[in-house]
Symmetry: C2
Amino acid sequence: MDQAKKNRLEAKGWKVGTVSDFLELTPEESILVEIKLALSQSLKERRQKLMTQSDLASRISSSQPRIAKAENGDASVSIELLFRAILATGATPQDIGEIIASVS
Amino acid sequence: MDQAKKNRLEAKGWKVGTVSDFLELTPEESILVEIKLALSQSLKERRQKLMTQSDLASRISSSQPRIAKAENGDASVSIELLFRAILATGATPQDIGEIIASVS
DNA sequence: CGTAAATATATCAGATATGATATAAATCGA
DNA sequence: TCGATTTATATCATATCTGATATATTTACG
């Protein structure tokens, strides 16, 4: 993984390699991160067409700041919350399946 | 939702309706539950062809009991863990996408 | 049968994710 | 440019999920 990408991920709270730069993510860990980022991006795109972050937050009993984090690929956001948010934009399981299938 | 299905879900820790039987799951909540159950089932099928629960557990630094719960659709298991486990069976994002797209 | 391997259930302390709140920063019209 | 709306960041107490451990139960098979 190049340094630029690593920096981008680490800014969002991802632990890309611990203890200096020797450890890398395993392939599976990478895929998981990429899936989350793909979900984030898709959430942002879908939500922007329909409503504000606050609107979406109240629909799923969450908070505007949490939606902001979800859309920015913050590491503290679970796939769970990403799914709930995306579903609240009207996405179907098929839609989510496609987002995930598009990874890697 | 019929009583039999409700009982099945509640046995696994899902809160299907609170305060007596008046509250139902919203469509989105239902989809989320169904996605998790689909992932559980798929995990079980894939893992059984390849290894024991203990084997899989050690591959993802988890524990055999947690894999058991994951495969049984226990409500305490996150989508996160389900993904990690399924990926450890060699599943690709495409595979996971298909599992999710097959829901509903 | 018996017994060993695999799976399921129970419990728990620690880690992580949560919504809430406050507020800063950015964006957008008038 | 300015005020208002939207989005981002920071902090925090609580809830949820975690792996670990112990152990019960089931399954496979001699």
